[in-house]
């Protein structure tokens, strides 16, 4: 089956590649290594081709080369039978490009944004009503045509961006991380649109993504690493050799993270991640699972993510040791570090957060999940004292940060959704500033700075401007800055958006170490596999709590005859798509 599929693929490619890159190289001034090094690939019609790779692999550079925004140093790119660099305007009329940050005009409405792109593509007036209706229907934005784009949720923005790109049906669609920061429901909807167009119009798609389940659905995957192609083919081709190396180990419900850490220490284990109630283990080649292990190791079918990790860890030289965190003193009384009761926040008539109550215990990892616009960030901002609550009580470490003495804020660390460090300052200057702002003395600052630069692998980049770092490093820097003063409580707002799987593993390893040391962590994420790392979580929708519980409980509640063992993503979609129910007993 797989075989026949990849055969048809090769035929399609041979027939008429929409995009053909030959030996493309590109380097930027001031960068040590070339961004792209002799990359060749084809994008066929009627299929989705995934360009997958870790941060700074050169994916975005390649995309920009393909649409004429950058010029290659060497090599040739042919798009729709025309060479890039010769007649770019003609090419640009027939392709669609959705950049990583699709710059919608936030002060224009949905309809106005769409009209602008229709004008830019000279879509005839006669065709517009039908086309717009179709796009709005597809993206389910029909009810929001008069809303300003700036007021849309993250998911809706991405869908609108896609609609703008598709306003003139392109023959080739370039998507650069289209689902970063998008909730699972919107993500699913977005992919439905793309795959429908691929099937009906025979459109070809080149996709960059950090979600490996999206990569797994591609008809062809090109693995890019440090500017060079590591391999390409059907996703199944990548996993074939992993049969017999992937296992599931079931542990006690609340011991999964400990089990994962324990398994990760074993020399033959290449990767261990939490997957539902078990830990998914990838063994190094030519090793075998321990005999008669308890709990037992159950063989699992390999998936693309295993292959990705396997390939990239072959490239990596050494494994990162777990982070050393000083244990926080046991509190005398406060078992519940964060308490929220009947918290509400209104913006005019709009209720962003509606009567939310929950409590987080010391050393707990607590997840705030929900669709875009469900009120997660608003709750976060209220907890951090950045936004006053309209009504209700909240307390963080016993105080309300909005009214408490500034010194109380020294106990928390905060990582905002958007990278919010000083882009014009160097890595070291940023860290020094936050260290001093938190009152670290000279001696302590030097120690913590050394620690941060080493722990996060930032030492070689210490003089680099923060704004020029690749996304994964920005995220590391932001986390380092938030941890410099050793806070007892960490607020992390979508800390892993757009970050590649390797980086996310390192990130969660650190979070685990922090939680074990007694740090309380409140986190939001759109990666449902990450939600499994939480001790407890809530799912918010339209400002209200749909369900609260451990990951197992949330999944159990979503169990249905047709879905006996739902993944967290399945469970999330189940809860979100519940008809608006009255207050769930938490």
């Amino acid at each position: 089956m797989t075989k026949s599929m990849s055969e048809t693929m090769t035929e399609a490619m041979a027939a008429a590649p929409l995009l053909h890159a030959e030996q493309v190289s590109k380097s930027f001034a001031g960068m040590a290594r070339a961004a792209l090094n002799a990359v060749s690939l084809c994008v066929p019609a009627g299929a989705v081709t995934g360009l997958i790779g870790p941060d700074a692999a050169g994916k975005t550079t390649f995309m920009r080369l393909c649409c004429g925004l950058l010029r290659p140093d060497a090599g040739r790119i042919t798009v729709l039978d025309r060479q890039i660099g010769r007649d770019d305007a003609a090419i640009q009329a027939e392709i669609g490009y959705m950049p990583q940050h699709f710059g919608l005009y936030e002060d224009l409405t949905v309809a106005e944004n769409l009209t602008l792109y229709a004008d830019l593509h000279s879509v005839p007036q006669a065709q517009r009503p039908d086309r717009f209706a179709q796009l709005l229907d597809m993206t389910q934005l029909g009810h929001f045509t008069t809303r300003l784009a700036g007021r849309l949720s993250g998911g809706m923005k991405q869908k609108l961006g896609l609609a703008c790109t598709l306003v003139q049906p392109p023959r080739l669609l370039l998507l650069d991380e289209p689902t970063v920061g998008v909730d699972p429901v919107s993500r699913r909807e977005l992919w439905d649109i793309v795959y429908r167009l691929v099937a009906t119009d025979g459109m070809g798609v080149l996709l960059c993504t950090a979600y490996l389940d999206e990569a797994e659905r591609c008809q062809q995957v090109v693995l890019l690493h440090e500017g060079a192609v590591l391999g390409s083919g059907h996703p199944a081709d990548f996993t074939a050799h992993l049969n017999g190396r992937v296992f599931g180990v079931r542990g006690a419900a609340n011991q999964r993270r400990a089990l994962q850490t324990q398994l990760r220490q074993r020399p033959e284990v290449r990767d261990a991640v939490i997957d539902r109630d078990r830990v998914r283990v990838l063994l190094a080649p030519n090793t075998a699972p321990p005999a008669n292990a308890a709990p037992p190791w159950v063989p699992l079918a390999p998936r693309f993510e295993d292959a990705f990790i396997d390939r990239l860890l072959e490239q990596a030289t050494q494994r990162h040791p777990p982070m050393q965190v000083a244990a926080r003193p046991e509190p005398s009384a406060l078992a519940e570090v964060i308490t929220v009761s009947n918290l509400s926040r209104r913006f005019g008539a709009f209720v962003a957060v509606d009567q939310v109550s929950f409590a987080v215990r010391r050393g707990e990892i607590f997840g705030l999940l929900g669709a875009n616009g469900a009120g997660k960030s608003t709750t976060f901002r209220m907890l951090c004292g950045l936004l006053p609550a309209s009504s209700g009580q909240l307390s963080v470490a016993g105080v309300d940060l909005r009214t408490a003495a500034a010194q109380a804020r020294a106990r928390i660390g905060y990582m905002s959704q958007k990278f919010a460090l000083y882009e014009v300052l160097s890595v070291e200057q940023n860290l020094r500033f936050f260290g001093r702002a938190y009152g670290l003395n000279r001696q302590r600052l030097r120690e913590r700075l050394d620690w941060a630069l080493n722990e996060f692998g930032l030492a070689p980049l210490r003089q680099q401007n923060a704004g020029l770092l690749p996304l994964g490093f920005k995220q590391r820097l932001a986390m380092a800055a938030a941890l410099l003063h050793e806070p007892d409580i960490l607020f992390l707002d979508e800390p892993t958006s757009g970050v590649d799987p390797l980086e996310r593993r390192a990130f969660w390893q650190r979070i685990d170490a922090l939680a074990n040391a007694g740090v309380t962590i409140l986190i939001t994420t759109h990666f449902m596999d990450e939600a499994e790392y939480c001790d407890r979580m809530i799912i918010l929708s339209q400002g209200r709590i749909l369900i609260e519980g451990s990951p197992a409980e949330v999944r159990a509640g979503a169990r249905r005859p047709e879905q006996p063992d739902p993944s967290m993503e399945d469970a999330f979609i189940h809860w979100i798509s519940q008809p608006a129910a009255p207050e769930h007993a938490a």
């Binding site: 305007a89 003609a90 640009q92 950049p99 936030e106 830019l120 593509h121 000279s122 790109t165």
Partner: protein, 379 residues
């Protein structure tokens, strides 16, 4: 299939509509175009004047008598002065030092004696002015001289004499016979304000698009760079012309500055000037590519040069040659001349055309330089 070439009109229209809607939704652009000229013109039209009035002046006579009282009475009658009588010279000098007065007029003890007919020496009137503000000091000198002259001829006439002057100067001041400084400050000010408006409107717009990432996706459409620039310029041009119309209306009807030129020439000059000003803003924007730097540059290079180097306040002809050459780069310089001439002198071809051509050349240079810097590329 080649829709790329033919759809220019539709694309341009789309860009213009987009920009216009953004302008209408952001109060700060509208404020720049309409609020700024109103506030600034009101403030200056009413506030600033180079005609000195009510100058505090100290009057002191060492030996007060009828003659000195007569002379001092002339000062009291003058609109220009607010005289204060000082008991002695030392007091008057202290007042001058403390800036209670700007000048002092001193009559020595033998003043009246020397004034007698037949006295071999002239009777001296001593004037001491605070020279810190040289311009004001010169004005005060001239005013004192006028008052003194009037007194002297009155004094002589009362005794049946006539002041004998070999040459009498008869000044004829054209265009602004009363030398109302408002008539010349207001048109000049319009030029300075329009420089600010033009540059401010566009200085941040391109930088903002770079910073917010709105350009990247638009670059990968058949849109041409010329359409992008035109789509930016036209709406701001209309806005700027609106601000200009408002300013001219205020000058004409609120401040009653005479307008002798023809309206069509005013419109043409304003349009060409605005293109140059918008072009400069655009150039700042594309050079900086970042709103912060663009803001820094626009604050530093717009207002002060337009204020100091345009001939609005300071005479260009009296600057060193190097600086005179430099003023040719300041668009406001030509516009100040054009406005002064159109308002106060009328359509004078020998002034209008060279200045208009120079403005057009500047506009072309700024726009062409911006055009070169904007490419559909991220490099």
């Amino acid at each position: 299939m080649n829709r790329a070439a033919t759809g220019g009109g539709i694309r341009l229209k789309g860009l213009i509509i987009k920009e216009s809607k953004q302008i209408l939704r952001d109060p700060s652009s509208l404020a720049i175009a309409f609020l700024m000229p109103v506030i600034l013109l009101l403030l200056f039209g009413y506030g600033v004047s180079l005609n000195a009035r009510h100058i505090p002046i100290a009057l002191v006579a060492d030996a007060p008598d009828q003659t000195s009282a007569n002379l001092f009475a002339h000062f009291a009658q003058s609109e220009s002065f607010v005289p204060q009588h000082a008991p002695d010279l030392r007091t008057a000098e202290r007042w001058l030092r403390e800036r209670r007065v700007d000048a002092l007029v001193h009559l020595p003890a033998d003043f009246s004696r020397r004034l007698q007919p037949g006295s071999p020496e002239s009777a001296p009137v001593q004037l001491i002015v605070n020279g810190v503000d040289a311009n004001q000091a010169r004005l005060i000198e001239a005013y004192v001289q006028a008052v003194w002259g009037l007194w002297l001829s009155d004094h002589l006439a009362a005794r049946g004499h006539r002041l004998n002057r070999p040459i009498t100067l008869e000044p004829r001041i054209w265009f602004n016979p009363e030398l109302r400084s408002r008539d010349y400050l207001v048109p000049g000010l319009i030029a300075v304000i329009m420089t600010l408006i033009g540059a401010l409107l566009t200085a941040l717009v391109m930088a903002r698009e770079w910073e917010r990432g709105t350009l990247e996706a638009m670059m990968v459409t058949p849109m041409r760079v010329n359409e992008l620039i035109l789509g930016k310029l036209l709406p701001y041009f209309v806005l700027g012309m609106g601000g200009m119309a408002l300013s001219v209306a205020m000058a004409r009807w609120l401040f009653e500055v005479p307008f002798l030129g023809s309206w069509w020439l005013l419109i043409v000059s304003s349009a060409v000037f605005l293109l140059a000003a918008l072009g400069m803003g655009l150039l700042i924007s594309v050079t900086a590519r970042n709103q912060f730097i663009a803001s820094l540059i626009s604050i530093i290079v717009t207002f002060l040069p337009a204020f100091m180097l345009s001939g609005f306040i300071f005479d260009i002809g009296s600057m060193p040659p190097v600086l005179q050459a430099l003023t040719h780069l300041v668009a406001a310089r030509y516009f100040v001349t054009l406005l002064h001439t159109l308002f106060l002198a009328g359509d004078v071809p020998g002034v209008i055309w060279p200045n208009l051509l120079a403005l057009a050349a500047l506009a072309v240079v700024f726009l062409a330089a911006s055009r070169r810097k904007i490419r559909k590329s991220l490099e």
